[in-house]
């Protein structure tokens, strides 16, 4: 049974791998889904389900970490237009 601190730490690791993922769509997917999953995990009282979800989450984290490397190696070098527009808007805000 994971402690609250362990769950928080795993959650933060998910968000970190989400932020680092090179692909825009997967990045947002990880961030969105991990928030949903961890919030529902926090609300869940069934011990067996929580334990199963915890184990699944730990193995999933490793999958995302490995794939983040693969996507860095083989992902498209050119960004999507959405990212370009967002970057341009950010530069305008800053500049």
């Amino acid at each position: 049974m994971p402690s609250a601190a362990e769950v928080k730490s795993l959650f933060r690791q998910f968000l970190r791998v989400g932020r680092k993922f090179p692909n825009y769509n997967i990045r947002h997917y990880i961030q969105r889904r991990s928030k949903d999953e961890f919030h529902s995990l926090a609300a869940n009282t069934d011990a067996a389900a929580v334990e199963a979800a915890w184990q699944r989450a730990k193995s999933q984290l490793e999958v995302w970490q490995r794939q983040s490397v693969v996507y860095q190696l083989y992902g498209r070098k050119v960004k999507t237009v959405l990212e370009l527009d967002q970057a341009a808007a950010a530069r305008q805000h800053a500049g």
């Binding site: 825009y24 769509n25 997967i26 947002h28 997917y29 969105r32 889904r33 949903d36 999933q60 999958v63 995302w64 490995r66 794939q67 693969v70 996507y71 498209r76 050119v78 960004k79 999507t80 237009v81 959405l82 990212e83 370009l84 527009d85 967002q86 341009a88 530069r91 305008q92």
Partner: protein, 494 residues
């Protein structure tokens, strides 16, 4: 001179942040009439050049019905079998074969769990096209002594229609059932079409062009009652909407890997064992896959399909909620800001349409120009405007043939008071008798697991702006705005 140069630079810098077309305009001003060659590549503009078009970046992908990106979890499952665990699953004598076989059987179990089947009922193929061919030709050839008739629908995928035509050329009768205006088949018509010598009914579960869901349980029950096999092409349905072969009387079902975030080039065919469905094999060889599909089973691809099915089973509810939300956002965004837009297919996403498929028709806009203008989003056009004939697709055509529509046009236009599009219902627009060849366009937006709200908002903005731009240039639109009844116009020939 220095001042001029400085201000030029300032202009150029601000232009770099603005649209690329402005930037190239600035470049022309800077160069004046010099014969100097244009700079080949700029950091912002023209990052990709293909087919004569300069793209500043990769477009937003909204074509999930064509194919879906592979989920990283699927890729992760596949990679070991493309690196060190490369054995042939049919090699019985060494570790490489054994571990490959284990992987294939595990994948088979994963696919079976998703659709409520037994692993022995799953045959791996090269994709839904092969599965459809196997089902239709296989069943027909096996029962050709006693049966002579096949029933399918007009909106099926090309591979189903082509297989039916292949059988027609060999003496089979085929009934192509029409569909209603929302794309669903009429169960009464299906019941009437069934004959004592009908071997198979093939109706797809979710249509790839408009997303309409057919009533599989009712069709299956009808077929079971009349002792006819029921095949469904569930390529767009599996992993997205719940499909359960243990509770629904489906005899054969085609599954496609790359429609559910899996790899391309792999699929499966579900063949029911109780009551047994017999097939004649289309691929001859060493008798793999229970003799129904010979050929080495591609371990890595099949593992990917299995992993995709497992992920889909876990994520189905969350995906559905997310996609419904985005679908609402997309439709409200476009239809709230534009008139003359019609949804092709049923509106009800809870039961009758898969929400990830939004096929919209835009009146008074030319197909080719709209697609060319939507460079920043990757969508598909419902009309086969890429074909030389500029004809609407056969699926959309099948929807448009409606008795209570008072004229020959498609979709958007309807008899008085029944107009589905939200243009002003004046008596003139009540007879918006826009003919087929007059400026009608449909775009299919495909929303998926990885689509974000920002992407949907960007798609809405681009669509609305481009449709408005094209309509401003359209004389038909001007006339409609003035209230002229287009059907009364005498078009002159020069």
């Amino acid at each position: 001179m220095a001042l001029f140069r400085a201000s030029e630079q300032l202009l150029a810098n601000s232009a770099r942040k603005a649209a690329p077309w402005l930037q190239s305009g600035i470049q022309i001003l800077q160069r004046g009439l010099s014969a100097q060659a244009e700079p080949a590549e700029d950091e912002d503009s023209g990052a990709i050049e293909m087919k004569g078009i300069r793209l500043r970046g990769a477009p937003i992908y909204l074509d999930m019905q064509a194919t879906t990106p592979m989920d990283p979890r699927v890729l992760d499952a596949m990679l070991p079998y493309m690196v060190d665990q490369f054995g042939n699953p049919h090699s019985r004598t060494h570790l490489y074969g054994w571990e490959s076989e284990n992987a294939v059987e595990k994948a088979r179990q994963q696919v079976a769990s998703l659709i409520g089947a037994d692993p022995k009922e799953i045959i791996f193929t090269s994709g839904a096209t092969e599965s459809n061919n196997m089902a239709i030709k296989g069943v027909a050839n096996f029962y050709k002594d006693k049966k002579r008739h096949i029933v399918t629908s007009q909106t099926e995928h090309k591979c189903v229609l082509d297989s039916a035509r292949y059988l027609q050329q060999r003496g089979w009768d085929v009934t192509y059932l029409p569909v209603r205006s929302d794309g669903r088949i009429d169960l009464g018509q299906l019941a009437d079409a069934l004959r004592p010598d009908t071997a198979l009914v093939s109706i797809m579960a979710v249509n790839n062009e408009i997303g309409v869901r057919q009533p599989l349980a009712e069709i299956g029950a009808l077929c079971r009652e009349r002792k006819v096999f029921f095949h469904t092409d569930a390529a767009q349905a599996v992993g997205k909407v719940p499909v359960d072969t243990s509770s629904t009387p489906i005899d054969l079902m085609s599954i496609s890997g790359h429609k559910l975030y899996g790899p391309k080039g792999v699929g499966a065919l579900y063949v029911r064992r109780r009551p047994r469905v017999r097939l004649e094999a289309q691929m001859s060889g060493g008798g793999q896959e229970r003799g129904l599909r010979s050929g080495t089973v591609p371990t890595a691809a099949v593992v990917g399909l299995g992993a995709a099915c497992e992920v889909a089973a876990q994520e189905m509810a969350a995906d559905h909620a997310h996609i419904c939300k985005l679908e609402q956002r997309l439709r409200d965004g476009i239809m709230g800001q534009l008139q003359g837009v019609v949804l092709n297919g049923p509106e009800d996403v809870a039961r009758h349409r898969y929400p990830g498929n939004v096929n919209l028709s835009f009146a008074y806009v030319e197909g080719e120009s709209l697609i060319m203008g939507l460079k920043d989003i990757a969508v598909s056009s419902g009309s086969a405007c890429t074909s030389a004939s500029l004809e609407p697709s056969y699926v959309l055509r099948a929807l448009g043939v409606e008795e209570d529509m008072a004229h020959t046009s498609i979709r958007c236009v309807a008899a008085r008071g029944k107009c589905k599009c939200n243009s002003v219902s004046t008596p003139a627009s009540g007879a918006l008798g826009v003919e087929e060849d007059m400026a009608h366009t449909s775009i299919r937006y495909g929303i998926g697991r990885f689509t974000t709200e920002e992407e949907v908002d960007a798609a809405v903005a681009q669509t609305v702006s481009h449709v408005n731009k094209l309509r401003e240039m359209s004389p038909l639109w001007e006339m409609v705005q003035e209230g002229i009844d287009l059907k009364t116009i005498q078009w002159s020939q020069h």
